[in-house]
């Protein structure tokens, strides 16, 4: 009984919805990043690593310049450069995309951990460095419930929603979007129509990395204001699941991200609920909630979504 009461209490509290939105934000960015890449036929399992780099670089440059926006800009620049290795290996050299993506994840983890000491002087987690100011929507200030959710939010949240809109328009309303889908579906056919397969794939992977980097930057300079080792904590992989569940459609990715965000928020709220007490020994199990939902959802729905036919398949040009 107390469980139902606890859950009910959470659901009527606007804080839950705000937390869900905030938890979803990095997933939205990263799942859109993944969609960009996979739409053109390049699997991107490196989202996790790219996000970690984004989180790290944005903090580093905020630390150096004092301006979190410069940090974000640099996160995007470095993120694109970093992802270029994956793009180059998989497009130019037809490397196994899982291997090169995994390599990026490992490099990001090692590199950021290693650089913490020389740059910040301490390991594990940095001090508070700085964060982007929240946007306050004054007109919502006194609106009940809605105002409690939306009055005071990070600009990243809005940026994420704009990204969804932007990519949806790009994918479904422009010639470039049609071509990206063609390249991811049947690169040979695209080639015979004079479409630049390699160029389109680079565009997809690298543009995707911009979004993934932003997702990472949100977690550091958008939210906490500091960087911690391995702070992405599997969100890159949950974003992959959101991309799949969303059927490689940005709006689908948004909805899937919100679902995972809600699971995360529910988990946090239950753990701090005053009605029930979750014993410390069980908390790690609760933390698995988003992953378990991911498994169930992906297991149950993957059959119904349809990946780009040439996803993960390198394209070799003829002689």
């Amino acid at each position: 009984m107390s469980w139902i009461e606890a859950i009910f209490n959470i659901l009527v509290n606007p804080l839950f919805y705000q937390m869900a939105l905030l938890s979803a934000t990095p997933l939205i960015f990263a799942s859109i990043g993944g969609t960009f890449s996979e739409k053109t036929g390049v699997t991107n399992i490196a989202l996790e690593g790219i996000m970690l780099m984004g989180a790290f670089i944005s903090i580093v440059f905020t630390y150096l310049t004092g301006n979190p926006w410069i940090g974000i800009l640099m996160a995007v620049v470095v993120g694109v450069g970093f992802t270029w290795f994956h793009a180059w290996a998989s497009i130019r050299w037809c490397a196994d995309q899982i291997v090169s993506g995994t390599a990026l994840n490992i490099i990001a983890l090692g590199l950021t951990a290693f650089l913490m000491k020389p740059i910040f002087g301490n390991e594990g987690r940095t001090d508070f460095i700085g964060r982007v100011q929240n946007v306050k929507l004054e007109f919502l200030k006194d609106v009940p419930f809605i105002g409690d959710i939306f009055y005071d939010l990070s600009p990243f949240v809005y940026l994420a929603l704009i990204s969804v809109l932007f990519s949806w328009i790009l994918f479904y309303r422009t010639p470039l979007g049609l071509r990206m889908a063609a390249v991811g579906e049947n690169p040979e056919a695209a080639d015979t129509l004079g479409i630049n397969v390699f160029g389109t794939r680079y565009f997809g992977v690298l543009t995707g990395s911009i979004f993934a980097s932003l997702g990472g930057a949100f977690l550091s300079v958008g939210e906490l204001g500091s960087f911690g080792e391995n702070m992405i904590h599997g969100r890159g992989f949950i974003a992959l699941a959101a991309m799949i569940l969303g059927n490689w459609n940005p709006v689908g990715a948004l909805l899937a991200s919100l679902l995972f965000g809600a699971a995360e928020a529910m988990n946090l709220q239950l753990q701090s609920s005053s009605i029930i007490s979750v014993p410390n020994t069980v908390k790690p199990l609760f933390n698995m909630l988003p992953f378990i939902i991911t498994l169930i959802v992906v297991g149950g729905f993957v059959g119904k979504s349809r990946s780009p036919a040439a996803d993960g398949a390198p394209y070799e040009k003829k002689a």
């Binding site: 309303r173 071509r179 049947n186 080639d191 129509l193």
Partner: protein, 530 residues
């Protein structure tokens, strides 16, 4: 480069001139100084066996490959074609042997892809649809412009391919084996379109293996063999036999020779068989038939009249809703495919890629698929590699699978050699000789050399006393192989005839549903009420 004596020859009456084209692949010389001339406004056939180098030659014209040496003139002008973009610019369009379509996009999206009408930075879907619609009306190419490619028939997909190149304003149209995937009816429709295109001033290069198609629609033929041109001739001055000889390099039997069948005892009997299709509609409606040892029973019919479902029911791939299938006195109705195999029915499926082989496996594994758990291929749960290697080496030799390399992946063999591999596996008598063979579309997409070979093999299996059920959309094949012919129409057998008591035209009428052409077999009277 040495100066060429013919430099100043006027090529302006030719749409295409390819001179001394050489294309060397790492392992084969695919084009060996090929000369290819196509007059403006002609329908020009390019024929040759699989692997002769036809597609390679055309891929160079379309800019997908670049020649090692040689010259290309389009409408009399020398040009360098570096990629499809250049080819499109010169007014060349190609319908590829394997369709180049985006399955999950719509017809009109496929047509405009790469050359999309725009409104600002946006895709102008309205204009795209309108242009595609106009084009399809202008050339009589009926398509449903809003359907996705994956939902339309092969014949319609081909029309999309043609629209694609017309949309780009092509005047020189290359059709690479367009009829290999079509039913005879769709082929006739394609020919109508080709004639219309010719009337509108287009030049057409038409690649095919089927000699009667060459005779039916072209004005000139160029024949290739082993990378070289072996002849160019006006169609009216030649005949299928001569062309076949030029293609294969020896005389070919266009119709296999066979003796009268030596009939044995009854092997298979099917009574009142009912089968449903994927949409759960009745596809086979109370079919009765019998096959004796040592005879070939041919099933003729327009595609989609229940033949596929019939075969699938007999081979255990689809459930029989009602009726009995008896093999040598054993009721095998709704046995599993493996059990049916064990009873001695072997199956050459109509779709060799999907059901006949595994493209990612080497030839030696493909040679034992389905028998791999039996002795001597495996013992005590382990594959007997030594035996498998020896066995498949022998089979590759015996059934003339080229190249003779059992380590090659099946997906890299040409269609004809894939089929020979499947035939070898299904008709070979290790570990035991099959009692009956169900053979569907055995020569689809194959060249005449391979067809001759497979036909001979089928006849020799018959003469060993195997009962054979042959399903084919090629009337010629049914006619030359079968001892008896049964015609399927809308899931029923509409009549039984022998090849020498009926003409092609008469059987064509029966396939269209006319029962009174000849005597019909006694069928259960109207049994529609299922």
């Amino acid at each position: 480069m040495e100066s060429n004596m013919k430099e100043n020859i006027d090529y302006s009456s030719y749409a295409v001139v390819m001179k001394d084209i050489v294309k060397q692949f790492p392992s084969v010389l695919a084009n060996d100084k090929v000369n290819f001339f196509v007059k403006k406004g002609a329908i020009h056939a390019l024929v040759g066996e699989n692997g002769a180098g036809k597609s390679t030659l055309m891929n160079q014209l379309y800019g997908l490959y670049s020649p090692n040496s040689g010259e290309i003139y389009i409408n009399g002008e020398k040009c360098k074609i570096k990629g499809p973009k250049d080819a499109i610019k010169y007014g060349i369009g190609m319908v590829h042997q394997h369709f180049m379509l985006i399955d999950n996009q719509t017809v009109y999206e496929n047509v405009v892809l790469g050359l999309e009408p725009k409104k600002g930075v946006f895709l102008n879907r309205k204009k795209a649809k309108k242009e595609v619609k106009n084009l399809s009306e202008k050339y009589g190419l009926q398509v449903d412009i809003d359907s996705k490619i994956e939902d339309i028939s092969v014949g319609m997909q081909q029309r999309v391919e043609i629209l694609k190149i017309l949309y780009r304003g092509a005047d020189i149209l290359i059709f690479d084996e367009p009829t290999a995937v079509l039913t005879p009816q769709e082929t006739d429709e394609l020919f109508e379109v080709m004639k219309l295109l010719q009337a509108r001033g287009k030049t057409i290069i038409f690649i095919t293996h089927k000699l009667y198609e060459v005779m039916a629609i072209t004005e000139k033929v160029t024949v290739m063999r082993l990378g070289k041109v072996t002849g160019e001739i006006d169609t009216k001055d030649t005949n299928p036999k001569q062309l076949a000889t030029m293609m294969v390099g020896r005389e070919v039997l266009l119709r296999v020779e066979k003796d009268a069948p030596k009939l044995g005892k009854k092997i298979l009997s099917v009574s009142n068989l009912w089968v449903k299709d994927n949409r759960r509609l009745n596809a086979v409606k109370g079919v009765n038939l019998e096959i004796k040892a040592g005879e070939i029973l041919g099933i003729a019919g327009v595609a989609g009249n229940g033949q596929t479902e019939f075969v699938e029911a007999i081979t255990g791939l689809r459930k029989a809703e009602d009726g009995k299938i008896i093999l040598n006195g054993i009721d095998i109705t709704n046995f599993s495919p493996l059990q049916i195999r064990e009873q001695g029915i072997t199956h050459i499926p109509e779709d060799r890629i999907k059901r006949g082989l595994i493209e990612e496996y080497p030839v030696y594994y493909n040679m034992i698929l389905g028998k791999h758990e039996e002795k001597p291929f495996s013992e005590n749960g382990f594959l007997n590699s030594r035996f498998i290697t020896d066995y498949s080496t022998k089979l590759v030799e015996k059934y003339d699978v080229r190249p003779r390399n059992i380590n090659m992946l099946a997906g890299n063999l040409s269609g004809g050699n894939q089929q020979k591999m499947v035939v070898a596996r299904e008709l070979d008598n290790t570990p035991s000789q099959p009692k009956m063979a169900v053979i569907s579309q055995p020569t689809r997409g194959l060249d005449i050399g391979a067809i001759e070979y497979i036909h001979k093999t089928i006849i020799s299996m018959r003469d060993k006393g195997i009962g054979i059920l042959l399903i084919s959309m090629e009337l010629d094949e049914i006619f030359s192989l079968s001892d008896r012919i049964i015609v399927f129409f809308e899931g029923e057998t509409i009549g039984e005839v022998t090849p020498d008591e009926i003409t092609r035209e008469e059987i064509g009428l029966m396939m269209a549903g006319s029962k009174n052409v000849f005597h019909s077999t006694e069928r259960g009277e109207s049994d529609e009420t299922k």
